[in-house]
């Protein structure tokens, strides 16, 4: 697993999802380091500069969560603030909730943590289920890199700026069809009914998160139309009534692309308030 490790102080671990990598946090890392935190940004196995297994059965939700547990334990991290986005949510929150003694706080952004199905969008044949259907997934997302090549672009606000400054970095780390396997494997892990592979894990996640007392902050993209704030951020707020927010920033699903510095400022302020209260 490749990871960035910058700065010193209490660790802040920044988790990305599908189909991104640590590059997503390029505008979040420097302000956090400057504010006195050790910032760790792993590339999920299968993405970025990390190893990329080429068989679909190499990827499981629990396996990816265990990869994060391994990272936290190998670096012997304590007082961790975990920043979760997209699949960094289910994997990161599984890691956090099974290692509460090492955690300090949670930052939750454009993700979900409950079973069946996360959004109405995920039940639709067009485009969601068609995109990752048998053989269609390997063709569209593998041969044609549909998520890194077009999907992120469609899910940012400032598209032209993204195209000029960032898109090539997402495409470059997924250079061939085999390297893109996780881009169609992850959508298949979203439970659509109670027979789905990850159903029980999401039931557990919802139960454990609802009992969790870790200081938390919810940050969401105002323009996010897939994980819309009204539905998703509000549901996290009901699960974690003590959480700060939701704070809305400019952004669709990949809100870090449009509001990196604003997100960093919100996290720094949140952590400073925790320190002020002795937490």
């Amino acid at each position: 697993m490749h990871y960035v490790d910058e700065g010193s102080g209490d660790p802040v671990v920044l988790l990305h999802g599908n189909p991104t990598w640590g590059f997503l946090y390029r505008e979040v890392i420097p302000p956090l380091v400057q504010a006195g935190y050790r910032v760790i940004v792993p590339d999920m196995i299968g993405f970025g500069l990390s190893e990329k297994p080429t068989r679909e059965h190499a990827h499981t939700l629990d396996g990816h969560s265990a990869n994060l547990v391994s990272l936290v334990r190998q670096l012997d991290l304590d007082r961790v603030t975990l920043v979760c986005h997209d699949w960094g949510g289910p994997t990161g929150l599984s890691c956090a909730l099974s290692n509460l003694d090492r955690m300090r706080a949670l930052v939750i952004m454009s993700t979900w943590a409950w079973p069946t199905p996360p959004a109405e969008f995920h039940t639709r044949i067009f485009p969601w289920r068609t995109m990752h259907a048998p053989l269609v997934g390997p063709y569209l997302l593998g041969n044609h890199s549909a998520l890194a090549g077009r999907g992120i672009y469609l899910s940012v606000v400032e598209r032209e700026k993204f195209r000029q400054r960032a898109q090539a970095a997402y495409e470059a780390v997924l250079p061939d069809p085999a390297s893109r396997l996780l881009t169609w494997a992850w959508p298949r892990w979203i439970p659509l009914d109670d027979q789905a592979r990850a159903y029980e894990r999401f039931v557990w996640l919802e139960q454990e998160l609802s009992r969790c007392k870790l200081p938390s902050i919810i940050i969401w993209g105002r323009e996010d139309e897939v994980f819309d704030a009204q539905t998703f951020a509000a549901r996290f707020k009901r699960m974690l009534p003590h959480a700060e927010g939701p704070h809305l920033v400019t952004g669709r699903h990949f809100l870090q692309e449009d509001s990196g510095p604003e997100i960093a400022a919100l996290v720094v302020d949140f952590l400073r308030r925790l320190s002020g209260r002795g937490e």
């Binding site: 068989r55 679909e56 059965h57 044949i125 067009f126 485009p127 289920r129 068609t130 995109m131 990752h132 259907a133 048998p134 053989l135 269609v136 997934g137 390997p138 063709y139 569209l140 593998g142 041969n143 044609h144 549909a146 090549g149 077009r150 999907g151 298949r188």
Partner: protein
């Protein structure tokens, strides 16, 4: 050249090679897709005994190799190979259009709620070159 895909008999492979085209590890992710291949190629009877073959719009034949996996219904996976002249390179543009045609044939065969119109719309959303083909509606 036609837009249709048809199941054909095994071709004569003398002087030919199998060129890898596409692989799927979880053809039963949506079970109706596995059912389609089982039905179309009589796989309950044939099992692993032989691959299936289809002719694509370019006139080229494609071999469908069905994979079994312990603990899962058969087939669990599929590999698609283009049957091409042994020492000739593969034309990627032709391959891409043929694969798209095979996907459209598959979706039509799987049936509702899956539709070719939704597949085409998905392809256009992601700007797949084959969706610009004059062979498509």
């Amino acid at each position: 050249m036609s837009a249709s895909v048809a199941v054909v008999d095994a071709p004569n492979l003398a002087g030919k090679r199998r060129a890898f085209a596409l692989a799927e590890d979880r053809v039963g992710h949506y079970p109706e897709f596995r059912d389609f291949f089982e039905r179309t190629f009589d796989l309950k009877r044939v099992g692993l005994a032989r691959p299936g073959y289809v002719a694509a719009p370019s006139g080229r034949t494609y071999e469908l190799v069905f994979l079994g996996r312990s603990g899962e219904p058969f087939p669990s996976g599929i590999e698609i190979y283009a049957i091409v002249d042994a020492l000739e390179p593969l034309d990627d543009a032709v391959l891409d259009r043929d694969l798209w045609a095979i996907l459209r044939w598959m979706i039509a065969g799987v049936g509702a709620p899956w539709t070719v119109e939704d597949l085409d719309a998905t392809g256009r959303l992601y700007r797949i070159p084959a969706t610009q083909s004059p062979l498509l509606p």
